[in-house]
């Protein structure tokens, strides 16, 4: 289907339908860019141990106490 034909098809759509179409196209583009890692309604584990500043300080001291 040519783009001009698509435009003719889209034109009579309601505002809501056009917004739905934008959402659909956005989702398709994200798939193409492999950014669709996460699905809605699913729970994912956060692996990062991101807030252990004191432990990091202690490990640094452990390394300093045991130089190569």
């Amino acid at each position: 289907m040519l783009l001009t034909e698509i435009e003719k098809t889209i034109h009579p759509l309601s505002r809501t339908e056009k917004l739905q179409l934008i959402q659909f196209i956005t989702a398709e583009l994200l798939k193409d860019e492999r950014l669709d890692y996460f699905e809605s309604e699913k729970t994912y584990t956060l692996w990062s141990v991101y807030d252990e500043g004191r432990a990091a300080q202690q490990l640094t001291e452990l390394l300093e106490q045991n130089p190569s």
Binding site: W47, V49, Y50, E52, L59
Partner: protein, 139 residues
């Protein structure tokens, strides 16, 4: 030593995540015991993390540890000890890595290479678009 490029890959886990992530194969050694594992290279983690069962595979003994860590964040509620291991990521020479050895098992937490001290040993560049990351060992 020249930088070396690694590819992201998806590792099986209990979670539903199938996304490719920057895992790297590393040989961890404690005394004479070595295990080869996949570790997550994680700039968002403040420390390297060693799950309990992997520590046992390396011959570490929980009851004889004498360097308790003060954990207050994600690891809160789980005891952790500081342990020194040797880590080797080919083709780089082996290095000393300090880990938070946690009572959490590998079903609960990943082997993580974090800021202390992996990111002090390596310069790391991520490229999510090409699904690769580059390691260059700091001198």
């Amino acid at each position: 030593m020249m930088p070396y490029t690694f590819s992201y890959f998806a590792e099986q886990s209990n979670s539903a995540v199938k996304a490719n992530l920057p895992f790297v194969s590393v040989t961890l050694t404690y005394l004479e015991q070595a295990v080869q594992v996949s570790a997550l290279v994680d700039s968002g983690s403040t420390v390297n993390v060693l799950p309990y069962d992997v520590g046992l595979q390396l011959g570490l003994v929980w009851e004889t540890q004498n360097f308790p860590l003060e954990v207050a964040g994600v690891l809160r509620g789980s005891l952790a000890y500081g342990v020194l291991l040797t880590g080797e990521i080919k083709p780089f020479p082996a290095m000393k890595l300090a880990f938070a050895w946690t009572k959490k098992t590998s079903t609960e937490i990943r082997i993580i290479l974090g800021q202390v001290n992996f990111f002090q040993e390596f310069k790391v560049s991520f490229d999510g678009k090409s699904q690769t990351f580059e390691l260059a060992q700091n001198k």
